[in-house]
Subunit: 492 residues, 2 copies
């Protein structure tokens, strides 16, 4: 499948808004249809939350943001779409009639996906003329951050459509999970529903409040499930004897009368009131927006940690970033402009970079410079392949002037000027700027080229030397940076 | 309750071993009874995994490790215990007879807790002479990392025992959740059991493999549950209209026939084989120990992020660290030895500090120095209260010599030498050492005292000036640090 450029999203509630944010931030043009008045506000908010999260989540550069337009009909929204995503409320009839409308307004190869959390794709296909191109793609809120999308083919779904949608969802950073068999509620929502049902009983019977149930999850097994799920966790609970031992130990408990198996609590006005008021007591100290940001900050940190640990949702991010970086690499060394200091880093200051003085901690200044050095290294050819081949540059000395403060959620960027190159030695000078133009800090660094096997200094490759010298020829003409060569204590 | 010093643990499997690790690392002496041969190995492993995790998790200093002894009888183990923790397999009869044995061998005020995941405390109390002191304290694997412990009182449990055990579990860094009503399986395991049952059906019916089920959790709602649980998550899924709207939208789905309500799948040899072999396929590329470490690394990172974001399990850690720090603060300024450079930081290098060169990233050198500066500030009186009162020191210049490499899981420590103090200015010199004694880096820093309201320089308090000058009087006599006052480029 060629890279998808145009997608239509029908329905812009919480799920539709999440789809739209993920799509445009991944460089895809989106046409939206939703007749409700709040749609545009809702989508704007979703995009701004997603931007805020992505700025913290991604170290790779994201593509230019896709265009977004609101259309006045399904027909208009679908006109040029290569993929149409349905995200309207759960009603078989409305979905079926929407798919008929979509069908008659799209190219025959356009993929149509449904965000339904439980309806069978075969039922959704019933009234379609070309049912082969419909597939369920069930995402999870917040759609712009959670990688999971369950792909469920109906009886008539083309095999090719499964493959093409798998590719497509991967290309926007998701983890498509193809469900083997078509069953109502698929996998995740069956699990969720069983918990939801049990939780309702616990509230109904005054065993626990909504807060206590949430605490029982997030201080305990929730922390396990963010990384391993159910079976892998239990594998470890069985000790070294593993899964078989676990089952022999805990399997029989299943036959104890622990859960409410048969009944569903009735949603009386009383029960709804109880849940709603307990939920208010638990969460209403935060506004909706604050709570969304808290959730997103935590998700960003979890996924980032998992990336560091090469695990689960973190590997999905890693692969997506790799894809993005390969695309970005297309700027050739020869095409770059070295008549100025080089833009080597930009980022938004995340909460965790801020210390008790209410500003970005001193060590994060060096972190920014370290990322900038990495990027500069890639430009001169000391990239991951070069490192694999057994050589790299190590920083041996650093001098930072912390000139001004920067606060959470403000943007910073770094420019890099090459000062000297001589055999194994390279001296660079970074400047950290605030988005408003203020100079926040300077970083002067001496690097040595090292053989990674012997861990001792060695000569860099000819390509690197050539590139570094080419840059130096131009950077030599730039003004001498203020503060260069300073030592501590010769001012104040 | 006075601080508990001695605890007996009966049963040293996965759960008992986890209890023991948490206890000894929190400075409590533990006497263990477990007749199985593997108990000692199991406990050693648990402690070594817990140590590894705690070194990364805690920035506060932990108390001296408690003593550990293996006893040859329940009687011997319980002799001086203030709390006895039962962690034997789930059998009402064995637990009842164990509690009789414990009762007759402990002081009447000793608290007895059961780790049962489902048996009613009232049933456990049935044959006890003093049932008032028994309470269920149900922990979650890995016990040394997950903060949740469900406290469930039986009909005869003393109110005071609930309070005292709450205090005790908080003192070892846990989050005690008191369950309102005594029901089988309490809260968390009722939820878990409903998921487990549904998951077994999905495997049994070939809808999904164990891997797919785990992926459906950890790439999706598992990431939400590590921080918010069920209700708070759904509050957000309802959009700004909140919980009531969510229920009106999704409540009715509950009456759809989505889950296997009534039946429990039978554990035929075939089903057990299927699960065990799918689980092998999913996880056997990692050894048990590797998988435990992966899990622990992820948990450490999640809990650390939550601490940064002041949320959920992270606040539990934060409060525990505060408690630990207050204890550690008891060293008076007057009692400190300033005839040498001051020990201001020690830590183990976590995985996420390591970069593509396979060693601790340059910016983490400054992070170590930054923590050391913070600690030095506390020693001279520029602590959190001082900062609250409106003043602080800001680093304005930094010079680092990166002299040697350090790798993941190696220990580092920092000493701090005061170089000069003059009104608003303070110059300090840090040395970062490897645990083997090698000097890894030096950090020279100029700090200025700042009024946090005007953000401009100001005079420090008299106490701070007095303390800094007292230290300087002694540090002046130390040898002049090599590299002091250096600038970049005057060597190599």
């Amino acid at each position: 499948m060629d890279r998808v450029k145009n997608v239509a999203v029908i329905g812009a509630g919480v799920i539709g808004g999440g789809w739209i944010a993920r799509l445009v931030l991944n460089g895809i043009n989106v046409e939206v249809y939703d007749h409700s008045e709040s749609a545009q506000t809702n989508v704007d908010k979703s995009i701004s939350n997603a931007k805020r999260a992505y700025e913290q989540l991604f170290s790779a550069e994201l593509p230019d943001i896709g265009s977004l337009s609101f259309c006045s009909s399904v027909e208009e929204a679908c006109r040029i779409a290569e993929v149409v995503i349905e995200a309207i409320p759960e009603s078989l009839e409305s979905k079926q009639s929407l798919f008929s409308e979509i069908e008659s307004n799209t190219h025959k190869d356009t993929i149509i996906t449904s965000s339904t959390s439980g309806i069978l794709p075969s039922d959704l296909q019933l009234k379609m003329k070309r049912p082969g191109r419909l597939i369920v793609a069930h995402p999870f809120n917040p759609v712009y951050l959670l990688p999971l999308v369950e792909l469920v083919a109906g009886k008539k779904t083309d095999k090719l459509v499964v493959d093409r949608s798998t590719e497509f969802f991967k290309s926007i950073g998701m983890f498509p999970l193809t469900v083997n068999k078509e069953i109502p509620a698929f996998i995740a929502d069956r699990l969720l529903e069983s918990v939801w049902r049990e939780a309702l009983w616990l509230v109904n019977d005054n065993v626990a409040t909504t807060q206590q149930i949430d605490d029982a999850i997030r201080f305990g097994f929730g922390l396990r499930w963010a990384q391993m799920g159910l079976f892998e966790t239990y594998r470890l609970a069985g000790g070294e004897a593993g899964m078989r031992h676990f089952i022999s130990q805990f399997g029989p408990c299943l036959e104890w009368p622990w859960t409410h198996l048969v009944d569903v609590p009735e949603f009386t006005e009383e029960l709804v009131n109880k849940i709603a008021s307990q939920s208010d007591e638990q969460s209403s100290m935060y506004s909706f927006d604050e709570l969304v940001r808290k959730r997103d900050d935590n998700l960003v940190d979890f996924i980032s940690s998992l990336k560091d640990n090469n695990w689960g949702a973190g590997t999905t991010l890693k692969e997506h970033e790799k894809r993005l970086t390969e695309k970005a690499k297309s700027v050739l060394f020869e095409d770059r402009d070295f008549t100025k200091a080089i833009q080597t880093y930009s980022n938004t200051v995340p909460q965790k970079w801020v210390d008790y003085n209410g500003h970005m901690n001193e060590s994060r200044y060096l972190e920014c410079f370290s990322w900038a050095t990495d990027n500069f290294m890639q430009i001169i050819g000391a990239d991951s392949e070069y490192i694999k081949s057994g050589s790299s540059f190590f920083t041996v000395e650093t001098h930072i002037r912390h000139l001004d403060e920067v606060h959470v959620r403000e943007c910073v960027n770094v420019t890099t000027q090459l000062i000297s190159v001589s055999g194994k030695k390279m001296q660079i000078f970074h400047r950290l700027f605030h988005e408003d133009g203020r100079l926040l800090a300077t970083g002067e660094h001496m690097l040595l080229h090292v053989n990674l096997t012997t861990r001792s200094t060695s000569e860099p490759s000819k390509v690197i030397t050539y590139r570094a010298e080419s840059i130096l020829d131009l950077h030599r003409m730039l003004p001498h940076p203020e503060g260069l060569g300073r030592s501590i204590g010769n001012k104040y």
